[in-house]
C-alpha cells in the first residue's frame, strides 16, 4: 500500500526521475518490471481523463432528461450504494413508497425486478463467503466511486472545454490527492488487467454493473434472459440463440402498438433497446447476430396493410421457420453427414459440451455403430462433465480426460469432432478456449479433425489471433478449484499486484489444423467459408 501511495505522489514527476528512483531502490521486483509499472501509471491518468469526459457527456444527456427521470436515477444510485445490505434496503423501501405512488405501473414493475436482482446479488455475495472486512471494503469502494463521480461532475461543469490540457491534468491530480483511498481501489482493478487484451475489458460485464440499471422499458423476458446470460446459466451459441428467439417471440406476443405507429417499425425500436440491454449483459454470439439480422430483414418485408394480429403471426412464423430450418434441420443434416464418416471401431475425441455433437453421437449410437468417445474437458467451466453425463445416459462408452492429457490419448484416437462458436471468412474456427490445442495435437498425430457447424454461425469477420476479439470471463473462476475444501493458493490474487489471472473464453483455430468443416450444405474444406457466405447472401437478397 505504501508503494502505491508513493507512486500516486510521483505521478506528476517526469519519467527520468522515476527511473532514477527505481535504480536507487533495492526492490528487485520493481526492477524486473519497470515498464509495466510506468504504463499502468499512464493508463490511470488516461482513464481519469476519460472519466471526466464521460461525466460531461452524462451531464449533457441528463439535462435532456425530464425531472422525473432524474429523480428516478438518483434514487437508483442510492439504492445501488446500499447494495449488499438488506437492512438498509428495507428502510429505503418504506422511504420510497411515497415516491413509488407517483411512478407509473410499468416503472413500478421494473423497480421491483431491480430490487429482486439486487437482493439476489446480495445473497450471491454472501454465499461466496466473503469476509466482513471485504464486504465493508466493497461498500466503501462503491461510496467512494459515487463521491468521485459527483466531484468529477462538478468539476466538469466549471471548465467548459474538456480537452485534457496541462491545467486539467493538474486538477485531476488534485482530485486524486483528495480521494486517495478511491485511487487505490481503482488502481488495484487496473493492475489486474492484462495489457495485451486491455481493449476487451470494456466489454466485460461486471456483476455490479450500473450500466444495466439505466435501461427501462425492457420486456421482462429480455430482463430474465439478460440475467441468464450474465450468470452463464445459458451457455453455448445454439442455446443462446434459441433462448433469444424465444424471448423475441414472447415480446412479439406481448407488444402493443401505440396509436399512429406501425407495428414492425415500433417493434424494431423496442427490439433495439432490448438488444442493447442484452449486449451489456454479455456480448452477442455470432449466431445470435445472424439470427437477429435474418429476423430484421424479413420483418421489413411484411405487408404494412395487414392488421396487427396477422403481422404478429407472420413475425412469429419467421422465427419458427428460422429455428426449424437453420438450427434443427441443419443439425439433422450435419448429423447424417458425420454419421457417414463414423465407422465401427472408431475412437472419437470431443472437447467440451456441444448440443450438436451430442446429437451426432447419439444418432450414430442409435444407428448401431460401435464406437468409443473420449471427452476432453478443461477448467474452469468443466462443461465436459455435462457432455459426459448426456452421452453416458444415451449408453455410449466414454472416457473422460482433461485437456492436458490430450497428447496421451491422441495416439488411440481415430477422429476428432469439434463444435464451433463461429466460422470466420478466412477459414479460422472460433470456438471455446482449448479447441485450438486439441486441433494442434490432432494435426501433430495426423488425425482427421472435423468441425461441425451450422451455416448460420458463419461470420464475415476475419481474425487471425484470439486477442483482437474475445470475451473475458470472471477471473475469480480460475482461482477456485471445484471439489476441494481448501481455498486455492490463488484465492487472494486481488491483494497481489503482480498476479493477474486472465480468463479468455474463446480461441481461434487456423484452417491448417482442420481437415474439414461439416455443414448442412456439404462437407467443406475450411477455406470454403466465403463461398457459403456468398451463396447465402444470394439466397437472402
Amino acid at each position: 500500500m505504501d508503494k502505491m501511495k508513493s507512486k500516486a505522489s510521483t505521478d506528476g514527476s517526469t519519467k527520468k526521475e522515476k527511473k532514477n528512483k527505481r535504480k536507487q531502490s533495492k526492490d528487485s521486483q520493481d526492477d524486473v518490471k519497470p515498464i509495466s509499472n510506468e504504463v499502468s501509471c499512464e493508463d490511470n491518468k488516461n482513464e481519469l481523463v476519460d472519466e471526466k469526459n464521460d461525466s460531461t457527456k452524462n451531464d449533457a444527456t441528463a439535462q435532456k432528461l425530464s425531472e422525473k427521470e432524474l429523480r428516478r436515477l438518483e434514487w437508483e444510485k442510492k439504492l445501488q450504494s446500499q447494495k449488499g445490505d438488506k437492512e438498509v434496503t428495507t428502510i429505503s423501501n418504506t422511504k420510497t413508497t411515497q415516491q413509488q405512488k407517483q411512478l407509473s405501473e410499468k416503472e413500478l414493475r421494473k423497480l421491483e425486478w431491480e430490487k429482486k436482482l439486487q437482493e439476489q446479488k446480495a445473497g450471491d455475495t454472501a454465499n461466496s463467503a466473503l469476509s466482513k472486512a471485504e464486504l465493508k471494503a466493497k461498500r466503501r469502494e462503491q461510496q467512494e466511486a459515487q463521491r468521485q463521480a459527483k466531484l468529477a461532475a462538478e468539476k466538469a461543469k466549471k471548465p467548459p472545454s474538456t480537452t485534457p490540457t496541462k491545467d486539467t491534468a493538474k486538477e485531476v491530480s488534485k482530485v486524486e490527492k483528495k480521494t486517495v483511498p478511491k485511487k487505490e481501489t481503482k488502481k488495484i482493478i487496473d493492475l489486474h488487467r492484462v495489457q495485451l487484451v486491455q481493449h476487451l475489458y470494456a466489454e466485460m460485464p461486471q456483476k455490479q454493473d450500473s450500466k444495466l440499471l439505466v435501461y427501462n422499458n425492457i420486456h421482462p423476458a429480455f430482463v430474465k434472459l439478460g440475467s441468464q446470460y450474465l450468470n452463464k446459466t445459458i451457455l453455448g451459441s445454439n442455446a443462446r440463440t434459441l433462448a433469444l428467439m424465444a424471448a423475441l417471440k414472447r415480446l412479439i406476443y406481448d407488444i402493443q402498438t401505440p396509436p399512429k405507429q406501425e407495428l414492425c417499425r415500433y417493434l424494431e425500436n423496442v427490439l433495439q433497446t432490448c438488444t442493447n440491454f442484452l449486449q451489456n449483459c454479455r456480448p452477442f454470439a455470432v449466431s445470435m447476430v445472424n439470427a437477429l439480422r435474418n429476423f430484421k430483414l424479413h420483418s421489413t418485408q411484411i405487408d404494412t396493410n395487414l392488421i396487427d394480429s396477422e403481422k404478429k403471426a407472420r413475425l412469429q412464423d419467421i422465427i419458427d421457420v428460422y429455428i426449424n430450418d437453420d438450427i434443427y434441420k441443419a443439425g439433422d443434416a450435419i448429423s447424417l453427414k458425420v454419421n457417414e464418416k463414423i465407422s465401427d471401431g472408431d475412437v472419437i475425441l470431443i472437447y467440451g459440451c456441444s448440443s450438436l455433437l451430442k446429437k451426432i453421437l447419439v444418432d450414430a449410437h442409435k444407428d448401431g455403430k460401435k464406437f468409443k468417445v473420449i471427452v476432453a474437458d478443461c477448467r474452469p467451466l468443466l462443461e465436459g462433465k455435462e457432455m459426459l453425463r448426456r452421452l453416458v445416459v444415451a449408453g455410449i462408452k466414454c472416457t473422460y480426460i482433461f485437456l492436458n492429457g490430450a497428447s496421451y490419448v491422441m495416439n488411440s484416437v481415430t477422429k476428432v469432432l469439434l463444435g464451433a462458436h463461429a466460422l470466420l471468412t478466412n477459414g479460422y474456427v472460433m470456438s471455446r478456449i482449448g479447441t485450438a490445442q486439441i486441433a494442434l495435437v490432432a494435426k501433430a498425430y495426423n488425425k482427421p479433425v472435423l468441425v461441425c457447424c451450422e451455416t448460420y454461425k458463419f461470420s464475415e469477420r476475419v481474425q487471425t489471433d484470439s486477442f483482437v476479439y474475445n470475451e473475458i470471463g470472471d477471473p475469480d473462476l480460475l482461482s477456485k478449484t471445484p471439489g476441494t475444501e481448501d481455498p486455492s493458493p490463488l484465492s487472494k490474487w486481488k491483494e497481489n499486484n503482480k498476479l493477474t489471472p486472465l480468463n479468455l473464453l474463446y480461441d481461434v483455430t487456423p484452417p491448417d489444423f482442420v481437415t474439414a468443416v461439416v455443414t448442412e450444405i456439404a462437407i467443406l474444406p475450411c477455406t470454403s467459408v466465403p463461398v457459403v457466405l456468398r451463396i447465402n447472401a444470394i439466397d437472402t437478397t
Binding site: S343, P448, A516, T527
Partner: protein, 319 residues
C-alpha cells in the same frame, strides 16, 4: 435399352476410341439411353438412367470417373426438366444440351494441354505416374513446340499401364525411361517436377488416382518438387474422404473383386492424395490451387451450361 446393351455400348466406345476418357464415355452412353428410351415421363427416364449408371459401375473400368461424370449429367437432366411442360420438348432439350455438354468436355482437354505445356521448359525432367491421356497429350504438345525434355514413367503395377505410356512417348520421339514403382524416391532428386492425371477430384481439393500417386506426392513434397495434377473439371465429385480408409470401396476395387473375397488382402486400385501435397491443379477452368473451393467451380460449370455462355465469361462474372 436393357443392361446388356448399355454395357456393350459403353465398352465399345472405350475400346474403339483410345482418346476418350471413361467419364466422357459414360456420358455418351447416357445420351444414348435418352435417345432410345421409350419412357413417357421424366421420372421414368431418370430411373432408366440410374439403372444404366449402375450397369456401367459394374464394369471393370474406374468407378471414380464414371461416378463424377454421371452425377454431373444427372443433375443437369433434372434441371432441364423444370424448364418445359411437354415431355417430348424436354427430351429434345436434354439431347441438345447433352451434345453441347459433350462438346464442351471434348474441348476441355485441349485447354488443359495449352495451359500445362507452358510449364514444360527446355531441359526439364518430368516424372509421371501410370498412363494419363491428358499428360500424354501435354507432353506431345510440348514436344511439337520443339522443347527438349526427358520423361520418367513408373511401370505402375498391377496393370503395368506405365509400359504403354512409355511406348507411346517413345513413338513420338520423346526420350523416356521406364522406372520401377519402388524407385520413385531414387529418381525424385533429379526430376524437376511431377505431372499426373486424376480419376477424380474431391471436394477437399485432393485427388483420387492410380495407386502410387500418394507415395509420389509425399515424396515430392519432402524433396520440394512441384506436384502438378492435370484434370478435366467434370471429374470434380461430391466426395470428401478423410483418409485412405474413408474412400468408398467401389473406388478402390473392381466390381468383380468386390463381390468375392476378403478385401483386406486385395490390392487397391486407387489412393487418395490430400490437397496439402498438390501444388497446382490444371483444369479447363484455369490453373487452380487445391485449396480453392472446388464447389464453386462446379457451380460455375453449371451456370455456363445453363446460360450457354462460355466458361471464361462466367468465371469473370463470379470473381
Amino acid at each position: 435399352m436393357d443392361g446388356a446393351k448399355v454395357r456393350e455400348f459403353f465398352c465399345k466406345i472405350i475400346r474403339e476410341d483410345e482418346d476418350v476418357s471413361v467419364g466422357v464415355a459414360a456420358i455418351r452412353t447416357l445420351m444414348e439411353i435418352i435417345k432410345h428410351s421409350k419412357s413417357e415421363t421424366v421420372q421414368e427416364l431418370e430411373t432408366n438412367l440410374k439403372d444404366g449408371i449402375n450397369v456401367m459401375k459394374n464394369t471393370d473400368y474406374p468407378v471414380a470417373a464414371i461416378n463424377s461424370g454421371c452425377e454431373l449429367f444427372l443433375r443437369f437432366i433434372t434441371l432441364a426438366a423444370l424448364d418445359t411442360r411437354c415431355f417430348s420438348d424436354c427430351k429434345k432439350i436434354m439431347l441438345d444440351r447433352g451434345h453441347l455438354f459433350i462438346k464442351k468436355l471434348d474441348e476441355a482437354r485441349g485447354k488443359i494441354v495449352r495451359l500445362a505445356s507452358k510449364f514444360i521448359e527446355d531441359g526439364s525432367k518430368v516424372l509421371t505416374h501410370s498412363r494419363s491421356r491428358v499428360v500424354l497429350q501435354t507432353l506431345r504438345k510440348a514436344h511439337k513446340q520443339n522443347k527438349r525434355f526427358e520423361v520418367f514413367v513408373t511401370i505402375s503395377a498391377p496393370d503395368n499401364s506405365g509400359k504403354q505410356m512409355c511406348k507411346e512417348l517413345q513413338a513420338e520421339g520423346i526420350p523416356c525411361t521406364l522406372i520401377l514403382d519402388s524407385a520413385v524416391g531414387y529418381i525424385m532428386e533429379q526430376v524437376h517436377f511431377i505431372m499426373v492425371g486424376a480419376e477424380g477430384v474431391v471436394e477437399s481439393g485432393g485427388i483420387v488416382n492410380k495407386v502410387g500417386s500418394y507415395t509420389m506426392a509425399v515424396c515430392a513434397k519432402e524433396m520440394k518438387k512441384p506436384f502438378y495434377v492435370l484434370t478435366e473439371s467434370f471429374k470434380f465429385s461430391r466426395l470428401f474422404p478423410l483418409g485412405q480408409q474413408d474412400l468408398p470401396e467401389e473406388y478402390k476395387f473392381k466390381s468383380s473383386v468386390r463381390k468375392s473375397s476378403d478385401l483386406k488382402k486385395v490390392h487397391p486400385l486407387v489412393d487418395y492424395t490430400p490437397p496439402a501435397y498438390i501444388t497446382l491443379l490444371f483444369t479447363d477452368l484455369g490453373i487452380l490451387t487445391p485449396s480453392a473451393p472446388l464447389s464453386t467451380y462446379k457451380n460455375i460449370i453449371w451456370k455456363s451450361i445453363m446460360n450457354m455462355t462460355p466458361i471464361q465469361d462466367v468465371l469473370i462474372m463470379d470473381h
